[in-house]
């Protein structure tokens, strides 16, 4: 081969197929993307939920939060899959081939998107079986899916950068820790208005609260207010900053 034409689309699709194969073969990514959120949903609704007084059936309140958490857990695994590539030598092979430089990373981002959307679909079906009653119209469903995808991609690029920067797999999973932790300090499980002032300030100003409130509004008809704009801005910021950081980290890694 002495041609040097680069095919970014086809290379990215190849890398995406590789990621999807990885996803279905790796029990821990599958667990985090699909089973863990189901366990959380069952736990919150049937074990803790009875004690919570949020004015509506608890599943009705908690599902948008669990949905957002499903996204965070699904995406967080990408830190580890990216880091595995970096530490296991295969990345050096890709770098010495005449392929699109970005394709490795877009493969990871696309893999995170599809894997996590699959988790989102499953958790939604489980919630419906448990009595979740959305009142969303078609347009609101579409917006909810778009917001999910937007959030997944924004977080995925951030997490890809973590995975590139981390020296070890342990470091990569630690870097993704905020994703797993922040949903608990949001309005996912209890309204922010019930919290003490200091914590409430944090809860109101971290990205997950407006995203969850927007999701809740779209699916169950609660007022969205400023949360919609805040959610879109957070996702855009995550996506732009994460993408720029990840590309830079990839270009300079291994030196």
């Amino acid at each position: 081969m002495s041609t040097a034409t680069i095919h970014p689309m086809s290379d990215s699709l190849t890398m995406l197929r590789r990621q999807l194969r990885h996803s279905v073969r790796n029990m821990s990514t599958l667990f985090n993307a699909v089973f863990f959120p189901i366990i959380m949903l069952l736990m919150f609704v049937y074990i803790f939920g009875g004690a919570f007084n949020v004015g509506v059936e608890y599943v009705q309140y908690v599902f948008p939060g669990i949905l957002t958490m499903t996204i965070a857990y699904g995406v967080s695994m990408t830190a580890i899959t990216v880091n595995n590539d970096m530490t296991q030598g295969i990345i050096d092979r890709f770098r010495t081939m005449a392929i699109s430089r970005a394709s490795v990373l877009t493969g990871h981002a696309g893999g995170a998107l599809i894997r996590t959307l699959a988790g989102v679909t499953v958790i939604t079906l489980v919630a419906l079986l448990m009595g979740f009653e959305p009142n969303a119209e078609f347009g609101e469903w579409v917006l909810a899916v778009l917001l999910s995808a937007f959030l997944i991609l924004g977080m995925a690029w951030m997490v890809i950068a973590f995975g590139l920067k981390a020296k070890t797999v342990e470091g990569a999973s630690f870097a993704a820790f905020p994703l797993l932790f922040l949903p608990f300090m949001s309005s996912a499980f209890a309204p922010a208005s019930t919290m003490p002032a200091g914590i409430r300030w944090f809860t109101d100003n971290q990205p997950f609260t407006p995203i969850i409130e927007t999701m809740r509004g779209l699916l169950t008809g609660t007022p969205i207010g400023n949360s919609g704009l805040a959610a879109v801005l957070w996702c855009t910021g995550l996506l732009l900053a994460g993408y720029a950081w990840a590309r830079r980290a990839y270009a300079t890694s291994g030196r």
Binding site: M1, S2, A98
Partner: protein
């Protein structure tokens, strides 16, 4: 356009922080030949491979591969080369066959051609039976073969092999050597790094000795061996008395009283060794054993760098 050799590197320099790793090395490898960069751990071999295979930039110097300037046409260079590094670059989450097909897709071979190439390579590298298994279950030799097979999917004109046999058992090592020879016979240019002298001696058309970031010698194995004085015969004696008697008979030898040995310069041919033994017999000196030592690359390495390689010194022949 000037016709260039398959690999031409001039004045390569690279530092990591304060540590100078490559101190201006020049490398020329004609197409279709095997070139070996020989040196101990930490000599800078891997750094040289990383620079020439486009993984890291040099601080200064030029690299031309297969007629393309690495600085301006990195993708042309990448399309011509294949790299098998020291640490295996295979995907453990895919099967052996899927690894090869992944490479075929990334080389845009087309589905049918890609599948055919993958099956050919599985067969040729004796991996057909393990094709459905993950490389995580492979032996070290199989992993290395899969790694090299993946490198070959794109039909590279120039292959960089960074310590391809380090850590392999002797049999796998032999197999790897056969494969490398076969590639060179097909006209592929091979740049090989190794810390094993016998490997360089066995495979390379041309050897360069790298020590502390500098090339201290280049040439064929035979040329390098000529750089140092000829061999010697080492006689071992039962006691000091016999050793001293022999030293008197054969002057010019090097006496080692602690080891009870005497080294006499010799090129090791039968006539001169016989003459030497005759002189000892005439003087009624009994020697316990004799070893003929012809210069090997170990001696060359020692003479050039002032320190031995990792290989233990081995006598070539013991009588």
């Amino acid at each position: 356009m000037k016709i260039r050799p398959a690999i031409e590197a001039t004045g390569l320099r690279k530092s990591f922080g304060d540590k100078l790793v490559l101190d201006g090395i020049d490398i020329v490898v004609p197409a279709g030949s095997i070139y070996s960069l020989l040196g101990p751990n930490g000599a800078g071999k891997t750094t040289a491979v990383k620079i020439m295979s486009s993984l890291i930039p040099a601080d200064s110097g030029e690299v031309w591969i297969d007629g393309h300037d690495l600085a301006t046409d990195p993708n042309f260079v990448r399309a011509s080369i294949g790299v098998t590094g020291q640490f295996s670059a295979v995907d453990d989450m895919l099967t052996g066959r899927e690894n090869l097909r992944l490479m075929a897709e990334l080389n845009h071979l087309g589905k049918r051609e890609g599948r055919r190439r993958a099956e050919d390579l599985l067969e040729r590298f004796d991996l057909a039976e393990a094709a459905k298994k993950s490389p995580a279950q492979y032996s070290g030799g199989m992993r290395r073969r899969l790694d090299l097979a993946m490198t070959l999917v794109g039909d590279p004109r120039v292959i960089f092999l960074d310590e391809p046999t380090t850590g392999l058992d002797p049999r796998s090592r032999r197999t790897m050597w056969e494969i490398i020879r076969g590639l060179a016979a097909d006209g592929v240019t091979i740049f090989l790094t190794t810390q094993y002298l016998d490997e360089a001696d066995e495979l390379a058309d041309r050897i360069a000795v790298l020590d502390n970031g500098k090339l201290v010698a280049q040439g064929t194995a035979a040329q390098l061996k000529q750089l140092i004085p000829g061999g010697h015969v080492e006689l071992r004696f039962a006691d000091t008395l016999a050793l001293r008697a022999a030293a008197r008979v054969l002057d010019g030898g090097r006496v080692d009283e602690a080891a009870l040995t005497l080294q006499v310069p010799s090129d090791g041919d039968v006539a001169s060794v016989r003459a030497l033994l005759d002189r000892l017999r005439d003087a009624r000196v009994e020697n316990a054993s004799l070893a003929v030592h012809t210069p090997d690359l170990d001696d060359v390495f020692f003479a050039l760098t002032g320190h031995p390689t990792l290989d233990t010194q081995q006598e070539k022949e013991t009588v």
